[in-house]
Symmetry: C2
DNA sequence: TATTGTTATACTCTATAACTATA
DNA sequence: TATAGTTATAGAGTATAACAATA
């Protein structure tokens, strides 16, 4: 798994392969992600739930109840950031908090029925803009993005 | 170009195709982009230039000198947001501002020599994290991400 | 002493509304 | 009156540092 030399070789190959008058793959992927993220955040106006909050709720739905620290680690943010996300979700009634049965320091955060329903239903409407953009692509492009989403998420989770 | 009915059909097909126990492509792509964006922003600590500023400089390098409004439109942000980006870049000496020859209201923003050098050189170092992640992929995955970056940027630019 | 979580504080990115200067 | 740009202000998202409670 840990083969820096090999990675460097492959990296060199990849650089050499790229056309010299075009930005690197890293540059292009970064700019694409920055711009799509900006557009997605701009769609939040119609909803009271932010992208960050939705991302955390997705994580809870996928993983089940988690402590704030676990949730912060999975979302790759610092604990104080997650404190704020959880507080907002709790106030909205989308997650509940209870004490850990044996460790008084820990809390356990889980989706409420309302939070689950929100994630499973309202998100579709919320994603209308992206859904439309995706619908304008041809099936091969969507298939490509589907695999790209998997790779990107894997990279971001490292 | 404008075929909503066709898009709806294709959208329906795409929904039917997806596995019912898996989040939609829109959800997965959105979460992947949010998480990678977060990781990329976290890499900014070592540099004084933000992702947003770099994105604007890339645009200037690609398009040549632009007015603040044109730059804001291309980056899909509001003019006041671009005002701040330009001010920061100007203070850092990466862009310069001059008056439009005939229209006194307009300004023209362009990369300085220093800004051009920055974009063409220092970005590579700045993207070390993403470069490493990309180097760990196999060539087919990088090729896939290269095409995905193109599609994503096109979607975000609409 | 180490871990979990929160509070305090600050910075970036973005937006809208209101203003100034020019056309 | 319309356009280009800036200033004022606000809110989201994130971080680090310092603190409290528990193990």
């Amino acid at each position: 798994m840990d083969e820096p030399a090999n990675n460097l070789v492959r990296y060199a190959n990849y650089v050499v392969e790229s056309e010299s008058d075009q930005p690197s793959l890293a540059s292009r992927l970064r700019l694409a992600v920055v711009r799509l993220n900006r557009r997605l955040r701009a769609q939040r106006a119609s909803s009271s739930v932010s992208l960050t909050q939705i991302s955390a709720m997705f994580c809870l739905r996928k993983c089940g109840p988690l402590s704030p620290s676990e949730l912060a680690a999975k979302e790759r943010v610092q604990p104080p950031s997650m404190t704020r996300v959880i507080a907002a979700l709790e106030e909205a009634g989308f997650v509940s908090r209870r004490q850990h049965p044996t460790d008084g320091r820990q809390a356990i955060v889980e989706l409420t029925e309302r939070g689950t329903a929100y994630i499973e239903a309202e998100i579709c409407a919320r994603e209308a803009w992206l859904d439309l953009r995706l619908a304008e692509l041809d099936p091969a492009e969507r298939e490509l993005l589907s695999r790209a989403a998997e790779i990107i998420d894997r990279m971001a989770g490292q």
